[in-house]
């Protein structure tokens, strides 16, 4: 009975989680428009865009079966990852969060593979940029997630160890930074890079396939914030349905903050963003690991 309740709740929330990114993208576009002193599109604009793409013709690609395979792998693993985050937020079991983050890493890899299968130079260039970003971002995201959850488990709120508290703040900063970079917002939008490589990774896709890819990318944007939110809130208010609702609300708040940051930042040189990011990650992670070790063995 409990299992059925858990599964049905997670599936209902999964549906909400799939629709919410589409609406939030509309909100982001509206925020960007307001910052630029214009009216901007309606909040449901992204939904209109996706519905329109679903009705459009698909221009065939000569390696369609492989492309479909990688796209389906991307979409299914990303949705499965979302499902496991829901389970983690409801139950608080650590292995659900580990499964979720593993599935998320697999989904990012299959997404990176798709553009490399195409012979178009623009798509290939975008794909290679995506690979570089993934090499820099993914390990940082996973390691900072592990460090943040370890610090949270070790932290005793009644008498907090100052070293563990510092390690937690550094790892959470790294987690938030990498979650921003994974979403491909400015200045990390180099894989799509609309100004110079004409949509890069997305260039060759049309109609329903493009709609699926765009939807998966939006869910990816949602997941990275959702993982951070549920990690923090499961610790602060404890697992359960309240935590689930609070995580979704915190995800929405984070999305709005990221949207504002993206709207006020400018684009940077293609090679500069990943290199700087890599250096910052190495510094922050090394610091966080050292401080955590001091906290465990020295404090």
């Amino acid at each position: 009975m409990e299992f059925i309740l858990l599964t049905s709740t997670s599936i209902t929330v999964l549906l909400v989680n799939t629709i919410l990114p589409v609406i939030m993208d509309g909100v982001e576009r509206k925020i960007k428009a307001r910052i630029q002193s214009r009216i901007g599109p309606p909040i449901v604009q992204t939904l209109y865009d996706l519905l329109k793409l679903l009705e459009k013709e698909v221009k065939p690609l000569h390696i369609m079966p492989f492309i479909l395979l990688t796209i389906i792998a991307y979409l299914s693993t990303i949705i499965a990852s979302l499902y496991f985050i829901n389970l983690y937020t409801i139950t608080g079991e650590a292995y659900y969060s580990i499964t979720a983050i593993t599935l998320f890493a697999i989904s990012l890899t299959s997404n990176t593979l798709t553009p490399l299968l195409l012979p178009s130079p623009f798509t290939y260039t975008g794909g290679m940029r995506e690979v570089i970003l993934s090499i820099v971002n993914e390990p940082a995201f996973i390691v900072s997630f592990v460090l943040a959850s370890t610090s949270l488990r070790l932290l005793n709120l009644q008498s907090p160890n100052i070293w563990i508290l510092i390690a937690l703040s550094i790892s959470l900063t790294t987690l938030v930074l990498s979650s921003y970079a994974i979403t491909g917002r400015i200045p990390f939008d180099i894989a799509e890079a609309e100004p110079e490589i004409a949509s890069g990774v997305l260039l060759e896709f049309s109609g329903k396939i493009l709609a699926l890819l765009l939807l998966s990318n939006l869910i990816k944007r949602f997941i990275v914030k959702y993982i951070v939110s549920s990690l923090i809130l499961v610790y602060i208010i404890g697992a359960g349905l309240t935590c689930l609702a609070a995580s979704i609300l915190l995800t929405i708040a984070l999305w709005i903050i990221y949207a504002i940051v993206a709207a006020i930042l400018g684009r940077s040189r293609v090679d500069l963003a990943p290199i700087t990011l890599g250096k910052v990650y190495i510094l922050l992670l090394a610091l966080s690991i050292t401080v955590l070790l001091v906290g465990i063995y020295g404090g």
Binding site: R38, I39, Y48, E55, K56, K59, L203, S206
Partner: protein, 159 residues
Amino acid sequence: MEKKLERIKRSIWVFHLNTGSCNACDIEILDALTPYHDAERFGVKLVGSPRHADVLLLTGPITLESLPKVINAIEATPRPRFIIALGSCGSGGGIWHDTYSTIGGVNSLVKILKERGVEVDGVYYVPGCPIRPEALLYAVALIRGLVEKKAKSMVATVE
């Protein structure tokens, strides 16, 4: 055409196709897309690939040199696809309508497309030299059914 228009009218993704213009119309397109004119409020988005587009913004007379590439770009646009012919050149060839190096405006292009079996679901005309950004937005509003068509085609015969 109405039914096909219904499918795209809330989300109009445009691809800029310069077929040999003097660039003044192209500058006006960019102006229409700036925050000042805010074309995005009508669901307009400039895309980098014809495969993503619903509408091709065609500027300039179609030169013989650009014709094969123009046909390729139109073929690459998934259906339903529409063309907005911009400027005197795009609409009817302008002062280049009968020169040796162009085929004229969008009408001659549509004829060639028909011969090759490439269908276009509708053409909108925005005359002017160059077009004003407001005129381009008017065409977008026309697609969305927000405004009335301003002109109709008439053939005058001189006795």
